[in-house]
């Protein structure tokens, strides 16, 4: 009776930093060589007062 969901969505960080607020979405880049022709891989994180939290499942 539950519907099978597909695809993905941008993470919503509004309640993802536990007791800390405000919690907002940031993009984080991994360290990689500046001479690399490809862009660095990026991930989303939730952030509150300088501390990072993982994003909820989408």
């Amino acid at each position: 009776e539950v519907v099978r969901a597909t695809g993905s969505s941008l993470p919503d960080c509004s309640h993802a930093c536990g007791a800390c607020s405000p919690c907002s979405r940031v993009m984080v880049s991994f360290k990689c060589s500046a001479s690399e022709p490809l862009p660095c891989p990026m991930v989303y994180r939730c952030m509150c007062r300088g501390k990072c939290y993982p994003v909820p499942s989408s």
């Binding site: 009776e1 695809g7 500046a34």
Partner: protein, 504 residues
């Protein structure tokens, strides 16, 4: 498609790296750049998802249950969230039904790492709230290092979670005490049961035998005793019962679990022999039965395990068991072979040298006699090779490149009869040879020269190196009829020679 966007992004990142020479205090050291996610709208579109609807709301009863479970672990902040499935955090998953009602399917607690932290528990006060039973669609519960300051038994009420839908129960390193509740056998749909690293006691309940869909069973690092139950799980791929106090034998029924990839029963008190039935597990990649009280012999049936990569049988008392020479012919995938401290006798099988994938080979602290097979030169991928603490004789067959490469990971010590060939250049400073005599000096001291030089001659014809060099009257059974007479003569000759030496 997005190619014009990406180079632009990379140049922004480079500029930011240059500006922010000191990485921001957030996140871990591998991360260099943190960008507020406002400009990303151009790169990614927040498109509607198939199956999800903006109108969906969480089932009110489940909302309350989640908030109670959260509060019981010390995460009272969840009371302030108007809709838990819309305002999710890392550690809750929801799925909507056709009526736009969200149901909670997964809850997780505990900081695995800074990077993927689920809500942390207040270890001193955390408890499991019975409100989990009000989550009828729950498929997965995960608690890691959660109740450690407040040790509790595993709640029997978990056996009342949805028998048709509940798939995965992970209670890892939570400080749980007492026995595994028999009620867990009611979770008929369970795929994963992981109770690793608690203080669980008593026997594994027989009711777990009804978990026929189980794929992974990890009860390792507890204090469980009693026998290994007779599991016959067609889909089980991981079985880890290591580091307990389990007794009795390795059950034959494991041979019926045809999907097994890993069996780890190490560090228990298992007795009896290794069942031949394990030879049926054609998918098996790891078999670790080390640190038990298993007796020999090593069953020949194990040589059929063509997928096996790691065979670890060390520290079982198999006094004077031998390993048949052809044993390793079928184990083509073997990368790790550990047979240390088993009291194995006879010669080291030549066929080990045919294991082209072998990385780690430990045959140390046994009673192996004879020479190190010349075929060991072919173990070009080996990164660790131990034959120390045996009764091996004769020259070490490895080339100097191999000895230099292995360094300290090559151990040949504790074999009084082993020596190295002085004719080989460049052996000065090879760590493994410290304390090992050179063959010339050994030749001049003893008659072993005669033993192995003759043995080499004979071995070219009949492969009897072992029987000749193991002077302790090893049986001459494996020779072809022709070489038997010759060997008998040789033994007489050796005996006479020894007698002559003693007389001197």
């Amino acid at each position: 498609m997005a190619s014009p966007v990406l180079p632009a992004w990379s140049s922004i990142i480079i500029v930011l790296v240059a500006l922010a020479a000191v990485p921001p205090p957030c996140c871990r050291a591998e991360f260099t750049v943190v960008v507020p996610d406002t400009s990303s709208a151009a790169a990614l579109v927040h498109a509607p998802q198939t199956g999800f609807s903006d109108r969906a709301r969480t089932d009110p009863a489940e909302q309350r249950a989640v908030q109670e479970v959260m509060a019981a672990t010390g995460n009272g902040w969840a009371w302030g969230i108007p809709d838990v499935c819309r305002g999710r955090w890392h550690g809750i998953e929801c799925v909507p039904d056709r009526h736009d009602v969200y149901h909670v399917v997964s809850l997780a607690f505990g900081a695995l790492s800074d990077d993927t932290a689920f809500p942390a528990c207040d270890a001193a006060t955390a408890t499991l709230s019975p409100a989990v039973l009000a989550l009828p669609h729950l498929r997965s519960l995960f608690f890691y290092r959660c109740f450690t300051g407040n040790p509790q038994p595993i709640a029997a009420l978990l056996g009342r979670l949805g028998p048709a839908s509940f798939r995965s129960l992970v209670l890892r390193q939570n400080g749980h005490v007492g026995p595994i509740p028999a009620e867990l056998g009611n979770l008929r749909a369970l795929r994963v049961l992981d109770l690793h690293g608690n203080q669980l006691t008593a026997a594994v309940p027989a009711t777990l035998q009804s978990l026929t869909h189980l794929r992974m069973l990890d009860l390792s690092y507890n204090r469980l005793d009693g026998p290994v139950p007779r599991f016959e799980f067609q889909r089980l791929s991981i079985l880890d019962l290591s580091h307990n106090a389990l007794q009795g034998g390795v059950p034959w029924s494991l041979g019926q679990c045809r999907a097994l990839l890993k069996i780890d029963l190490s560090q228990n008190r298992l007795t009896g022999t290794i069942p031949d039935a394990l030879g049926e597990l054609s998918e098996l990649m790891l078999l670790d039965l080390s640190h038990n009280a298993l007796s020999g012999p090593i069953p020949a049936a194990l040589s059929r395990l063509a997928s096996l990569q790691s065979l670890i049988l060390s520290d079982n008392r198999m006094q004077f068991s031998t390993v048949p020479d052809g044993f390793f012919a079928g184990l083509k995938a073997l990368t790790t072979l550990v047979l240390s401290g088993m009291g194995l006798a006879g010669t080291i099988p030549e066929s080990i040298g045919e294991l082209g994938e072998l990385r780690v080979l430990r045959l140390d602290n046994n009673q192996f006699t004879g020479v190190i097979p010349a075929s060991f030169r072919r173990l070009e991928r080996a990164s660790e090779l131990r034959v120390d603490g045996n009764r091996l004789v004769g020259p070490i067959p490895f080339g100097k490149e191999m000895m230099w490469r292995l360094g300290k990971k090559l151990r040949v010590g504790g074999n009084e009869g082993l020596c190295y060939d002085t004719k080989q250049e460049g052996l000065e400073g090879v760590v493994a040879l410290a304390g090992v005599a050179d063959c010339d000096s050994v030749r001049s001291r003893t008659t072993q020269h005669l033993v192995w030089s003759n043995a080499t001659v004979v071995s070219r014809r009949g492969g009897v190196v072992a029987t000749v060099t193991s002077s302790a009257a090893g049986p001459v059974s494996r020779n072809a009829g022709g070489t038997r007479v010759e060997t008998a003569w040789l033994l007489v000759f050796v005996c006479l020679h020894l007698a002559w030496f003693v007389a001197l």
